[in-house]
């Protein structure tokens, strides 16, 4: 094998390719030491023309053994698809393994604000459909001048935008409302893991609606999914013409199937249930459709014996992701309290942290970038004296909205509330370093 490749590498085409690759900075000024190196460098530049020699098993990145001194043993080679370090095992937690089920994001394992796509929380109502992107189409009809059909490549041909946004299920945090399911032994993932943040890429929905020509009397649209639940939600036209996207990209690649591949509705700052995944149809109308989701499910009973309908926007909220159950602080001294804050109405302007159960509040450091309708990372240095402490965080957004205390929240929303549970959370640090959720 080596002889054969050595022979081919003497060809003029190969030399030209190597020279170019070097110029482009892929290998820089590194000298080509061996034939083996030369072949592999070349195949990285153009895998279709040069076949790669088989690599020893340990170099394929699956089961690389760990040497005593990594500086004395050559490492493994480049690979087509990367994977996590073998010591890192962040996992979604599948809470409800049913067709209408969900899994939650491991918030306590994440850094910064971006959720890796394979850890984005899931909420499905009829399982995850398998959809061929070649067969995919989006219909726009109803009160329009020109009923339209768009293929995936049609959607991608429109001007695209990419934005960082959070996506939160409005049921996120329901376990923070006292109920028979309440427990202090609950992790940030289990408690509030129905939120993730990604860079979403897509076409502004208003561009597609302009293409179809919306009747001036239209006020609503129905969005419908291509899954077994044929999920539907009514969306005010105003939002559709504002910042709504038909998204096909997530963190630099195509949407994951769990997130709506090949295309989904994305409504920045709104409850996740409205952002119909696997979207197949948009019907423009002069009235809402009163679907099962928006009437019998995603409504909010109030203590005055009414129920809120179309409660779209996600209120400002913050959560501490460290320290939190099941982590146990091993010793007193300096610790960095960290967490995430967000608002469906714009930017977070302030996060305050209390280490004494809400008596004193001090500002946390907000990490850049602080983006509208996106998660913001906050940090707060804390010198733990080893005594019991209660940690809380409180977010304020650019509208002046302050995350409510639990008592105010329950008084206004009522004990029977379920969705939009954004009240201040508290973590109780015990003398032995254990951290429990204060329910």
């Amino acid at each position: 094998m080596p002889e054969q490749h050595a022979k081919r590498s003497k060809g003029s085409k190969m030399s030209r390719r190597l020279w170019l690759t070097g110029t482009a900075g892929l290998v820089g000024g590194m000298a080509i030491k061996t034939v083996y190196d030369a072949v592999n460098t070349a195949s990285a530049a153009s895998p279709s023309t040069v076949s790669q020699p088989p690599l020893p098993q340990k170099q394929q990145g699956i089961s690389q053994s760990v040497p005593k001194d990594p500086t004395k043993v050559p490492g493994r080679l480049a690979s087509e698809l990367g994977q996590r370090a073998p010591y890192e095992h962040p996992r979604r937690l599948v809470v409800k393994p049913q067709l209408s089920g969900y899994s939650v994001t491991p918030l306590q394992d994440l850094r910064g604000i971006i959720t890796p796509a394979d850890l984005h929380f899931e909420r499905h109502h009829g399982g995850i459909p398998a959809i061929d992107p070649q067969q995919y189409r989006l219909l726009i009809h109803g009160m329009v001048d020109r009923p339209m059909r768009f293929s995936l490549s049609d959607l991608k041909r429109f001007p695209s935008i990419s934005r960082f946004y959070f996506l939160e299920c409005s049921g996120n945090g329901f376990l923070s409302v006292p109920s028979e399911k309440s427990t202090p032994e609950i992790s940030p993932q289990r408690l509030d893991g129905l939120i993730s943040t990604s860079e979403w890429t897509g076409v502004p929905l208003r561009m597609l609606l302009r293409e179809a020509g919306v009747n001036p009397r239209a006020k609503w649209l129905l969005a419908e999914g291509n899954d077994a639940a044929v999920m539907t939600r009514s969306i005010p036209l105003e939002k559709a013409l504002d910042d709504a996207l038909i998204a096909y990209g997530q963190n630099g690649e195509a949407l994951r199937p769990e997130q709506g591949y090949p295309a989904r509705l994305f409504l920045p700052g709104w409850e996740g249930n409205t952002m119909i995944k696997w979207i197949r149809r948009i019907e423009v109308s002069d009235q809402p459709f009163m679907t099962r989701e928006e009437t019998s499910k995603y409504t909010d009973p109030l203590p005055d014996c009414t129920a809120r309908l179309f409660s779209f926007e996600m209120d400002a909220k913050s959560i501490i992701t460290f320290p939190a159950f099941p982590y146990r602080l091993p010793q007193k001294g300096w610790w960095e309290i960290t967490g995430l804050a967000w608002s469906g109405r714009g930017r977070i302007v302030r996060v305050e942290v209390s280490t004494d159960g809400g008596r004193n509040w001090r500002r946390a450091v907000l990490q850049s970038p602080v983006l509208p309708k996106c998660q913001t990372r906050f940090n707060f240095l804390w010198n733990w004296n080893g005594k019991p402490a209660t940690l809380m965080s409180r977010a304020t957004d650019e509208t002046g909205y302050v995350q409510p205390e639990r008592e105010l929240f329950l008084r206004k929303r009522g004990a029977g509330t379920f969705y939009h549970a954004n009240q201040i959370r508290a973590w109780k640090v015990q003398k032995d370093g254990r951290v429990l959720f204060d329910i």
Binding site: T23, E211, A229, R281, S311, D315, A316, T399
Partner: protein, 214 residues
């Protein structure tokens, strides 16, 4: 010439060279703007859009009809067919009872039948009532039943029911919830006229950000 600009020109040069070699012509442009502090920032550009791009195809009546299955509260979308409580009872026993219980009250999945609490709509008072939301005490529109059952039920065979079966199941469930009589027959005209007990309990969202918590 400042340092970032020189660097960006070098980078563009490299990119262009590779692109030419791979024979995929591609424009690579970098716009840099000088600001007063001497730093460089990307320039925001607003592009003019054409009135229409002309992408996509006209949707045909047939392809819209194949997918346009929704039913609105005013009855738009209801097909010409009819169903009865009696027919609904036998379809329910066959296709629904396994998940929702023999009478619609037992579960294990969503409880469908129940009028308690009859008065007051106290669902915001206690989590206890959250578990008791039914068609009879919580659903505000009768048409939603038709729309949902025909698109998503039964869960193991979604979209498999005929129009007369859906009307019959709606009739049976409304009867079980004491909303219509045992002899009722439902069709596109009669279904939207049924007034649900919880119809007037729903209010528009009044949250709007700002300092007042609602």
């Amino acid at each position: 010439m400042n340092r970032p600009l020189v660097l960006s020109i070098v980078c563009v040069g490299c990119l262009l060279e590779v692109c030419c070699w791979q024979a995929t012509p591609q424009e690579a442009t970098t716009v840099v703007m000088q600001t007063k502090e001497g730093t460089t920032e990307p320039e925001m550009v607003q592009q003019e859009l054409p009135v229409r791009f002309g992408f996509g195809q006209r949707a045909t009546r047939a392809e819209i009809a194949a997918w346009d299955i929704d039913v609105r509260p005013d009855g738009q979308g209801l097909p010409a067919a009819a169903g009865t409580v009696a027919q609904g009872r036998s379809i329910y026993a066959q296709k629904c009872a396994a998940c929702h219980g023999p009478t619609g009250k037992e579960g294990p999945f969503d409880v469908l039948v129940g009028r308690e609490p009859r008065e007051g709509f106290p669902f915001g008072k206690s989590m206890e009532f959250f578990r008791q939301k039914t068609i009879g005490n919580y659903w505000p529109y009768s048409t939603t039943l038709y729309d949902y059952i025909q698109r998503a039920m039964p869960q193991n065979q979604p979209g498999s029911l005929q129009a007369h079966e859906v009307y019959s199941l709606v009739a049976f469930l409304l009867y079980q919830n004491e909303i219509i009589g045992p002899d009722a027959r439902l069709d596109a005209q009669s279904l939207p006229l049924i007034r649900m007990p919880a119809r007037d309990r729903f209010v528009r969202d009044n949250r709007q950000g700002g300092v007042t918590f609602r």
